[in-house]
Symmetry: C2
Subunit: 319 residues, 2 copies
């Protein structure tokens, strides 16, 4: 079995990132509780630096490097929140971050990465081009590759969000997180099972990118083929580390339709007055579709991020 | 001189509303600090119940009533956040809230008030009709009139936001709040001057509804004539209590153009991932126009609310 991080790694990560990351608030909404028939506690990682939980893992990975290793910088391939998070963490340490992005990635995302000081290398939009370009960058610079999720320090860093939530709300019956590559879900599960062994650990996945649901059912990794969902942060499939952790600790992963995702997103905007991206609304969407869980049930929800184009909102697409 | 509430009234209000209101988070943004050249601490009343600080005052006023008085309910005229706040506070106490609204007020606002159980009486959209209708409702029901801002318990309740902020960030150099009728500004000023006598207390007002700036300059209340601004929560003019408090405690009120208000609003949405209405962005807008205040300056900002139509955002109006 793959060696996986434990609660001590998450606690060490928490101490390491404490001076640099936000301790995000836990918010509640009576209106949303009534709609869901549960008592929900939202851990707001959309209010984290760079607007996503990804900063926790990236910061832990960058700050864990030895001096000599760090001096050569870090590198990754990502067109999403991990790229921004790694660039900011590297800037905080004063080292270079090399980011490989497909040439088709939106200018707004390239600009955000550059804004945090990331050094961008564009590549053709294929998996092969991405991996080859990254290998080349690493060979030329000596930078340390920080995988977006299949990395122990990334997973331990992401687990600090659940650690904070469970320290603050000590009697949760369940905790639910979105599943893409599985880094956040893995860290959440490790933290939850260590702090509250009886807690139910759930995942939530877009129905149009349900590789984790199918992988758990099959007992082996079944990558998504052409995933289609509005939740563009959750297109990635599980890898060996995250599959191993999720198989062991996650009770069930619930699917969410795109319709429910947009509804949940709007509900969070309107009732909680916070900006959540489609991927971040997936757990609430899954609970809305799953149906009420009983008034007494106290459920923690990790809201993963809030990065989206404010000029094009999902409920305006058809206008 | 008008008798005005003191810090002990604010502390009593804080104890009274603590079980019912959210203790809202204080958020920070390095990106916005860099733009402003100040260290800003945002007290997020947009994340308060009903999406605005107004719940603090309304809750304090409703919960302060004696049993007999309370039984007959409360009444007010408002088409804004105070109406929703009073309706919710009354529902929590199990008493009726009679809300007089102009028949021209948007259906979405009427629906929101009704959603909190408010009993709506529509009137013609004139000041005279509003006051007459309210008098009639009070005469018929025996309800207690709760003025939206020119009321000691409302002012004391609004002051609890600054009290929490100053308890959390103990070394602020200045604090700034938006000014409409002046209830929030008054409560903020009383709390700030009591807890931190050397603090600078600033207000911020839309340039298109700058009655408070003109009133302070003239030394008497000069109501706005046909105010025009995107910040539709700040159209109201000062009244005797709020004018007296603001004259005594507020060092200066800064104007903000509508252009700066929209820019500040978008900055808060993009960088802090929270939803703020135009009125709530006015203090940041005023600081943006005022210019940098020196790196070391620590400024607390009260973000007043987050209620607006998500289908029509200011930066999309021209599309």
């Amino acid at each position: 079995m793959t060696n996986i991080p434990g609660i001590s790694d998450i606690r060490e990560a928490a101490a390491r990132i404490a001076p640099l990351a936000h301790r995000t608030p836990v918010l509640t909404s009576l209106a949303i509780n009534e709609i869901c028939g549960m008592q929900l506690f939202f851990k707001c990682e959309n209010l984290q630096k760079v607007g996503a939980f990804k900063f926790r893992g990236a910061c832990n990975a960058v700050m864990s490097l030895g001096e000599a290793e760090a001096a050569a910088g870090v590198a990754t391939h990502s067109s999403g929140n991990h790229a921004q998070a790694l660039a900011l963490a590297a800037r905080m340490r004063g080292i270079p971050a090399h980011i490989v992005m497909p040439e088709t990635s939106p200018k707004i995302k390239q600009k955000a990465v550059a804004g945090y000081g990331g050094r961008i290398t564009l590549c053709k939009p294929t998996l092969q081009a991405r991996e080859e370009t990254l290998e080349q960058v690493v060979a030329e610079t000596g930078a340390t590759f920080i995988h977006p999720f299949n990395n122990d320090r990334i997973i331990a860093g992401q687990g600090t969000a659940a650690l904070e939530l469970l320290e603050e709300i000590t009697d949760l019956d369940a905790i639910i997180a979105p599943v893409g590559g599985g880094g956040l879900m893995s860290g959440t599960a490790i933290a939850a099972k260590a702090l509250a062994p009886d807690i139910s650990v759930w995942g939530a996945e877009p129905a149009g990118a349900d590789d984790a649901i199918r992988s758990l059912a099959a007992g082996r990794i079944i990558p998504s083929q052409n995933p289609r969902t509005i939740a563009d942060g959750l297109l990635t499939s599980l890898a060996d580390k995250t599959f191993a952790i999720i198989s062991r600790h996650v009770e069930r992963i619930y699917p969410a339709s795109d319709e429910a995702i947009v509804r949940a997103m709007r509900l969070i905007w309107e009732r909680m007055k916070i900006i959540v991206e489609p991927s971040g609304a997936v757990p609430l969407a899954a609970l809305l579709e799953k149906g009420p869980g009983g008034k007494a049930q106290k459920v923690g929800i990790i809201i993963s991020g809030g990065n989206l184009d404010l000029d094009r909102l999902p409920w305006q697409e058809s206008q």
